[in-house]
Symmetry: D2
Subunit: 229 residues, 4 copies
């Protein structure tokens, strides 16, 4: 029986890299996102299933896990990637949008972790991984909402690592400290390797996933060689 | 002209200590809380004004600042104390309550900071202080929502310290690492000074408030001598 | 009976500010440094005693504490300020000098803390304060030796805070994140308050010293309002 | 041409696991330690060379690198594992031993990193890895010297990551947070996986070593699933 990975926020380049790498490793992949139309190509390529979800809504998250379970089985690898960022001087921010970014970046992480934990504790094993950013550990000026959301997600991950690791569930938090290359953001020709390759990030996720439980990592950061920190 | 301090979450013992100390220092005090009936005694004692507010609601926060401004003037010292905590295994938590704790602990901090910043940037000076907890820097097992809220509040404070300090607004975050003594939680007779005295905490807030801008603190922690950390 | 403060590394501007402030508060001051000739003026001004010591030498540190104890009494306030910094690419550093900077910045802190603890544990109270820098929490490029020394001093302070606080000895670590103004490094005219005033730093040390033991701080940072961090 | 890995502090169980894993990956291994007699078996098993060195002595470290270079070539993978730990109340520690532990745990790391950097900057690539411990990020009571040494080593690693990464040298620091199983410290029968398996740790070192430079990690922690943190 193959493992099943559920990737939330599947529209990102990192999610696509994770999906391809997992599939290559023989893991069944479930892709979940608010918009799944544009995931048809990826899904077809690697034989993944697609699920529509707004991860900030309790009912939808519960429904998502039920659907995945019915169609594929319990996902023992759950990855939470969604985030929303609004920038600007604090006086210029729209309070409604700020709450929305918190819901997407952090509260959705809680909902997904809760739904995952309910099932993984029954199965007796599994992994829940959270994708962080530079803002997870450093609150930048003019970026308060993103700092709030990513700090909160890190607090969630740390709390769950303490709570769930002794119950055989591997919780990890990845601090991605730098830009990720994509079609819209190609590598600058004169600055080789100055943007993270999503395939390289995915490879590190897989390494952490492969760790035996006597040597688990709860947090790791990744950045390009030339990134200032 | 005296300075005006606005204390949000005025129902706590720490808030009462801050109010009394500020009043003693000649600072005009405005007390804001969801329930202000029980603040009548304190307000009368120190000549403070009371304001009703649910700090997690944008409209109410804006109205609060307008009322304080009209009645007393612009508050140049703003302190955010509210927090909500629910504990338990992640699988047992009520998602609706979790979101509510985030709104009270962190989102309200944003709303208050935004309303304060709008006014302080015009005045050209001021202080915004946030009260944190052990959970601000350590995510404990079975306490994910509090970790999320307090980590988020710390991210907010750190971001604002970077953004607003160079604009002459002192932003600080206080990590209160231990229990605070109160009528309901008296000092254990056999463990002297094992709970924080809210008057002692307030004294440190005042010390930080008195710092000249060439030597500002953005974060400080406080704990009883016998507290494990 | 007045308290006695022993300031090690007394030649710095911060030490002078601490000495003057303590004297003003009625505390008897002992100044210790490798060169005490130039401390004659300060000592005369505030009625302080001077002691010669190389704080990186076990015998000299033990002798220092014995001398202070004989002449003045047990110093219940002990402040460790010495540090040495050499900068440059790692490949260009002189290994002999690197070891020397570790001895001055960190090992001397251990020796002083040990000599102080031996006496304070008998007295049953006291304070040991360590002066850190930006490099205490961030290892900068081309500054490996200073990072090593200041990180080590912070590790010492944190370990001692955990060990000695429950024995009624207040251990604190001050992260001074910015340049300190002095005769040799005057405030830039066009950048007011961009350098820390040593008198302002000293005032914060005094505030921490005055904390009752139910609300002790072990670490605090200080920086100018315009300092990037 | 195969890569060459130089492992300093080769007598530990982790070093042996690293040596075997590297050899299996086709990497030529050089083992360096103060006592190399007992390394004969391991060296024979994997075809490794042995070198005697006290890594806290500048001359010996320089000589070591020269010997390795002559016999095998420039080692482009350099791992620093030595540490010394003395525990006890601060008042009971022997100052001479404390200095010695700093020299072994931290100063030796500097000497090795300097000798490595001199050669790697000429080659234009390479990796320098440092092995940390729980004490690298938390100063425990009654363990001041170990905290000083490990904090210092972390400061060194962080400084060098900032300095050398942009010069194509991967610097990483591994926080090993838990006991490592060995012949002398076997796994408790009733607590499976409660001690780190050195082979599992080594596998994570290899994963970090294999990272492309667009996604480098400078710090990662590892602990058993049931370890409290």
């Amino acid at each position: 029986m193959t493992a099943i990975a559920l990737i939330i926020g599947a529209g990102s380049g990192l999610s696509a890299s994770l999906a391809r790498l997992f599939a290559k490793e023989g893991i069944t992949v479930a892709l979940a996102a608010r918009q799944i139309d544009k995931l048809a190509g990826l899904a077809g390529e690697i034989g993944a299933s697609r699920f529509t979800v707004d991860a900030s809504k309790p009912d939808q998250v519960e429904q998502l896990f039920n659907q995945v379970e019915q169609q594929l089985g319990v996902p023992t690898i759950v990855i939470y990637n969604p985030s929303a960022r609004i920038s600007g001087a604090i006086v210029d921010l729209d309070p409604v949008e700020v709450l929305r970014t918190l819901e997407i970046t952090a509260y959705g992480g809680f909902l997904v972790a809760q739904a995952a934990a309910k099932r993984l504790l029954k199965v007796g094993e599994g992994a829940i991984f959270f994708t962080g950013a530079s803002a997870s550990v450093k609150g930048y000026a003019r970026s308060a909402p993103f700092a709030m959301g990513k700090f909160a997600l890190r607090g969630l991950a740390q709390s769950l690592a303490r709570e769930l690791a002794p119950q055989n569930i591997h919780v990890a938090h990845f601090v991605i400290d730098g830009g990720i290359r994509s079609d819209r953001r190609p590598e600058p020709v004169d600055k080789p390797d100055s943007l993270l390759d999503p395939d390289a990030i995915a490879q590190t996720y897989l390494s952490i996933l492969r760790q035996p439980r006597n040597a688990w990592t709860w947090e790791i950061e990744l950045r390009p060689w030339v990134e200032t920190f």
